[in-house]
Symmetry: C2
Subunit: 198 residues, 2 copies
C-alpha cells in the first residue's frame, strides 16, 4: 500500500533538497494535493522552470543573475576592491548595509578536503585573474570563521601575497544584540583580539 | 538590492507550504539555481503539475487517489466496518500493520473551533450517509488524542449513537519502545485505563 504513483514521484522529487527528508517531502506533497490552491501549485511549477532557464552565474564575479554580467559588476562607479564571499546571499546581505562600495567575488563554495572540495572546485581561479586584469590592490575575505572558511581565506592569502595586493578579512567578534554569557569561547576570543580604542 | 525577479518569485512560491518561512524558501530557491541538476528541477516542476491534475479525493471515503473510487473502497472483500482517520497518511499507516481488514473514512481535517473548522468543513456528512447506506454497524474512531481529535471523536459518537451502530476508539497508551519515565502524564493515564489481563 502506497500513495498513487504521481504522488510518490512528487515526494521523491522534493527529497532532492538538502534538509528535506522523506517525512518532510511527504508532508509537502500531501499539502500540494490536499490544501494548496491549484494556482499556487502551477505558479511554483512555472517558477521552477523559469529560474532554471533564466538564472545564470555572472561571467565576472560568479554571483547569480539573469544577465550575462550582473548589475554590480557592470556598475562603473564601484571602488576598485573585491570582497570575496561564499554565496550570492552574502552579497545581498553586505549590500543592505550600504557601507561597502566595492566589487564582489562569489566563490559558490568553500575549500573542504573532508567534503572533497578543492580549490579548483570553487570559483577561485577567476578571482586571481580578476586581481591581475582589473588591477585590484585590495581584497577582503568575508568568509565564515569555520574550518572551511578559514582554509579558503588562507589559500587566497597565499596566492595573492605574490601580487601587489593587500589582503584583509572582515572583523569577527560578538554579534550585536548577543549576550556575552551565551557566546562561544572562540567568538569571545575573536572579540578580545578585535578590541578597539573608543 | 534583491535577487533577480524570477528567483524572488520562486522564493515567494515556496512559502506557500506550512513550515517553510522566508529563510527556508530562500535556501530551497538558491539550491534550485546553484546546486540542483536541471533534470531534477524539471522533474519536480512536472510532478507538481501532474499531481494537481491526477490526484483527487475518493468519492466514497475521501482518501487521496488517482481513481474515482479508491482501491480500498472498490475492494469487495473488505469487512463491513469503517475506521475514521484524519488523513490519507493514516490509512497507509494502518494498512501497513496488515491487521485491520475493514474500510476507511478520511476526514481531511478535525473539528477545531479555535481554528475556525466546524463539522461542515471536514468530510463528515458523507460518513453519516455511508453508515446508513452501507449498513455499517461498527465505526472505529482512530483520531489523535489532542483536543481537536477528541472533539471530533465525541461529535461522531453523538451523531452515530442514534443509529444502530457501535462506536469504538483505538487504544491509547504507552508507545512500544518508549521509556515510562519520559512518557507524559496523559499517556500514562491512558495506559492505566487500558490495563489488560495477560
Amino acid at each position: 500500500m502506497k500513495f498513487p504513483d504521481s504522488l510518490e514521484k512528487l515526494i521523491e522529487s522534493f527529497t532532492m533538497y538538502p534538509g528535506i527528508g522523506p517525512k518532510t517531502a511527504e508532508r509537502l506533497a500531501l499539502h500540494t494535493v490536499t490544501k494548496a490552491s491549484k494556482e499556487k501549485v502551477f505558479a511554483l511549477s512555472d517558477n521552477l522552470r523559469k529560474v532554471v532557464s533564466e538564472i545564470k552565474k555572472c561571467q565576472v564575479c560568479g554571483s547569480i543573475t539573469d544577465l550575462d554580467v550582473c548589475l554590480i559588476c557592470s556598475d562603473e562607479d564601484r571602488e576598485n576592491k573585491i570582497m570575496v564571499v561564499d554565496n550570492s546571499k552574502d552579497v545581498i546581505a553586505f549590500e543592505k548595509t550600504n557601507i561597502y562600495k566595492g566589487k564582489y567575488h562569489v566563490l559558490n563554495g568553500l575549500i573542504s578536503p573532508l567534503g572533497g572540495v578543492g580549490p579548483e572546485d570553487i570559483n577561485l581561479s577567476s578571482l586571481f585573474k580578476r586581481v591581475k586584469e582589473e588591477n585590484i590592490t585590495e581584497v577582503i575575505a568575508a568568509l565564515p570563521s569555520d574550518i572551511a572558511g578559514e582554509m579558503t581565506t588562507l589559500y587566497i592569502k597565499k596566492i595573492l601575497e605574490k601580487e601587489d595586493c593587500t589582503i584583509y578579512r572582515i572583523g569577527y567578534g560578538l554579534p550585536v544584540g548577543a549576550d556575552i554569557e551565551y557566546a562561544d569561547e572562540i567568538t569571545l576570543r575573536k572579540a578580545l583580539e578585535g578590541i578597539k580604542e573608543m
